[in-house]
């Protein structure tokens, strides 16, 4: 076990993946000598060279499009999109090419591309640097959507995503980059070197984690809001409410089983994410839970998310984002029933 930040864990995971497989290469803007604007690729250019850590022209569609072409020849490109708000120029390549090539070739072509996206807010950034666009990708079949919330998951999941034969959108909660945690660096190495490693890695990445057990209310969170959910749970513990926290980890596929199991137990579910609630991932989670656990629910599933408004200037982000008070308020509301 080693102590790492989330950023450091992803960096270490990238390094391990690059050492394991010479076909793994990194592409993006400023990921070379600079090490990325968040330094997630720090040191990799120095150690692996510009052929494997490629500073690309400033064009996101071009980056994803050429990554697709490279992966058609067996490479495993890991693309860094500099900020969430700049993934949109690549939307077409992701939606119509990356997501669909395996299907349209009836399995003849696999595109093991990983797209890393530092996402979500809370860091006092300017416009377009705090977006949470995950729902826009989850709706498209052919993409796997994951988000690690802890250094351990950052380290494991980036390697699992790279090993997976499917395209993976890897959403990194940038506000948590500097949070520290213990990381076991051996387990995922063993998994990936064993027979069927890529399959079991893909499968593991597709499961949620019960981050804290509880019996009265379930809070479903992922990425940046997991810490918030745990804070709420800790606080409510003192007030006699037992909160179960689910760290979703995977958005596509949604691990309905884990969430519904918890919903059946507690009968009260709250989904917390930073993206606007309207038409967000919380709507899908709420719908699925309701479809499958309707007669176990004491209250409707509530969503705590961003508002239906563009991400505001950073002076307002605390109020725009789900915060502890709003989560507690939602807990109060579900407990009223």
């Amino acid at each position: 076990m080693t102590t790492m930040t989330l950023a450091g864990a992803i960096n270490a995971g990238l390094r391990a993946a690059m050492e394991r497989d010479s076909k793994v290469l990194l592409m993006g803007e400023d990921i070379g000598p600079l090490g990325g604007v968040f330094r997630v690729t720090d040191g990799l250019w120095k150690d692996f060279g510009g052929e494997r850590v490629m500073d690309t022209p400033l064009a996101e569609s071009g980056i994803v499009g050429t990554a697709i072409g490279m992966s058609m020849r067996g490479y495993r490109p890991v693309v860094e999109i500099q900020f969430d708000g700049f993934i949109f120029p690549a939307f077409d390549q992701i939606t119509t090419s990356l997501a669909k090539m395996h299907y349209r070739s009836r399995g003849a072509i696999t595109l093991p591309v990983v797209i890393r996206v530092p996402f979500a807010g809370g860091i006092g950034a300017v416009e377009h640097h705090s977006e949470s666009p995950e729902a826009l990708f989850a709706h498209t079949a052919g993409l796997r959507i994951v988000s690690p919330a802890t250094p351990q998951d950052g380290f494991d999941m980036i390697q699992q995503a790279i090993a997976s034969p499917d395209p993976v959108m890897f959403f990194e909660p940038k506000a948590r980059y500097w949070d520290k945690g213990e990381v076991d660096t051996d387990r995922v190495a063993a998994q990936l070197s064993s027979e069927g490693g890529a399959s079991s890695a893909t499968d593991e990445m597709a499961h949620a984690r019960v981050a804290r057990e509880g019996s009265d209310v379930t809070i479903v969170a992922y990425g940046p809001t997991v810490r918030l959910a745990l804070q709420a749970a800790a606080l409510l513990d003192g007030e006699g409410a037992s909160v179960e926290v689910i760290d979703l980890r995977t958005i596509s596929p949604l691990d309905t089983e884990t969430v519904v199991r918890s919903a059946r137990k507690t009968g009260r579910v709250i989904v917390v994410h930073e993206a606007p609630s309207a038409f967000g991932t919380g709507a899908e989670i709420a719908s699925r839970v309701t479809e499958e656990a309707f007669f176990h629910l004491h209250a409707p599933v509530l969503r705590v998310g961003g508002f239906h408004a563009p991400y505001p200037g950073s002076k307002l982000e605390h109020d725009y984002l789900p915060n502890l008070d709003r989560v507690l308020d939602a807990v109060d509301r579900v407990l009223m029933h």
């Binding site: 071009g62 050429t66 990554a67 072409g69 395996h102 997976s164 893909t202």
Partner: protein, 374 residues
């Protein structure tokens, strides 16, 4: 036609004039000099078969057997010429109209119709033919082609020291495509990475109804100047010139010299697709002008005059073309509809809970439905 800008025929490389007379080009002639009479007969055969197949597909669409058809009519020289310059280590990215190129890559032409019959979206294994699937999103594949070429370079397939082992990518797109951001990014990525890719633009003068003047005020080959890659305009109705220029361009790319842009100036003699109505946007006079420049007729005249197109050969190919038409007609009707659950296949390479759950639901639903009605 005294068009200017993107519709002018200035600066076109030509090795056969429109009357079928052979021309010399100080630079490009050497890139056609390896062509034997047999090669020319093969070109003629492939152009003829492509057209026969094309016409058959159009009538199948008219008969309701296909949802849509996209004819390559008039573009056979550009396609067969360039396709024949491709060799083993190369890889081809077509757009969606390159039936002639498909033939040169060993695709059994009728197979192309599966996608137009709505059976599936792609019907050959690209790696088996070094020929990628058709891409309908204009320009998207030019970036895939560039990435693929970058990967070939990494894999030691360029300037390896053994020229016969070297390969390059050739990527097809239309005049309309040149306006897309993706195509411009592809040119830029290819230039900066010195990727071994030949961008082969068939300027057939129309993007559906829009003349090329809606995409550019200069010849499309000039796009190469903007990013610093060499470009050539070739008469796309001249199969020998199309071959020579492509042959040069591919050799250039394979040698490690970097990307090339070829503009093959041609004319879409048919409709954009079977849904299109060209009478709305172009004149009969225009069409007649280009009918006189039919690429197959031009090659035929040349070969007749040169005495290298014997009647027996013509007859043989005519029979083959007839046979291809017949086989196409028959084959199309034998294809079974895909099984319903095929829609859940290959969405992901590894199991995905949502797909699995929906598939399971669908199978239950179908069963219950059958039971209820049995």
């Amino acid at each position: 036609m005294s068009a200017t800008g993107p519709l002018s025929d200035e600066g076109l490389i030509r090795l056969l004039d429109r009357t079928g007379a052979r021309l010399e080009d100080p630079f490009f002639s050497q890139y056609a000099k390896d062509l034997t009479d047999d090669d020319l007969r093969r070109f003629w055969r492939e152009m003829t078969l492509t057209r026969a197949f094309d016409n058959e597909a159009t009538s199948l669409q008219r008969q309701g057997e296909l949802g849509l058809w996209v004819p390559a009519l008039g573009q056979e020289a550009a396609q067969i010429g360039s396709g024949n310059a491709v060799r083993k280590p190369d890889f081809v990215f077509p757009s969606y109209r390159e039936h002639g190129v498909a033939l040169t890559r060993g695709i059994d032409l009728p197979v192309i119709l599966k996608m137009f019959r709505g059976i599936e979206h792609g019907s050959w294994v690209p790696s088996e033919h070094s020929f990628h699937l058709y891409t309908l999103v204009i320009g998207a594949h030019t970036l895939h082609a560039t990435g693929y070429a970058m990967a070939m370079d990494r894999d030691g397939l360029v300037a390896s020291g053994k020229p016969e082992n070297d390969g390059a990518v050739i990527c097809y797109f239309g005049d309309g495509a040149t306006s897309q951001g993706d195509v411009n990014e592809a040119l830029i990525f290819a230039a900066v990475n010195n990727a071994p890719v030949v961008f082969f633009c068939q300027n057939n003068q129309f993007a559906i109804s829009e003349p090329t003047t809606r995409q550019s005020r200069v010849p499309l080959a000039d796009r190469g100047k903007g990013v610093g890659i060499p470009s050539v305009r070739v008469d796309g109705n001249d199969v020998i010139a199309s071959y020579a220029v492509s042959n040069w361009a591919l050799q250039y790319a394979r040698s490690g010299a970097g990307p090339v842009l070829v503009e093959a100036f041609t004319y879409r003699m048919g409709a954009h697709t079977t849904s299109d109505d060209p009478t709305r946007y172009r004149t009969r006079a225009d069409e007649a002008y280009w009918a006189e420049r039919d690429p197959i007729a031009r090659l035929t005249t040349y070969m007749e005059n040169a005495g290298i197109l014997p009647d027996e050969y013509r007859e043989e190919v005519a029979q083959e073309a007839k046979g291809l038409g017949r086989r196409t007609r028959e084959l199309v009707k034998t294809w079974p509809a895909p099984s319903k659950t095929e829609m859940f296949e290959h969405v992901y390479a590894e199991p995905h809970a949502t797909v699995d759950a929906e598939r399971a639901w669908f199978e239950r639903y179908e069963r219950s439905f059958l039971e209820a009605h049995s």
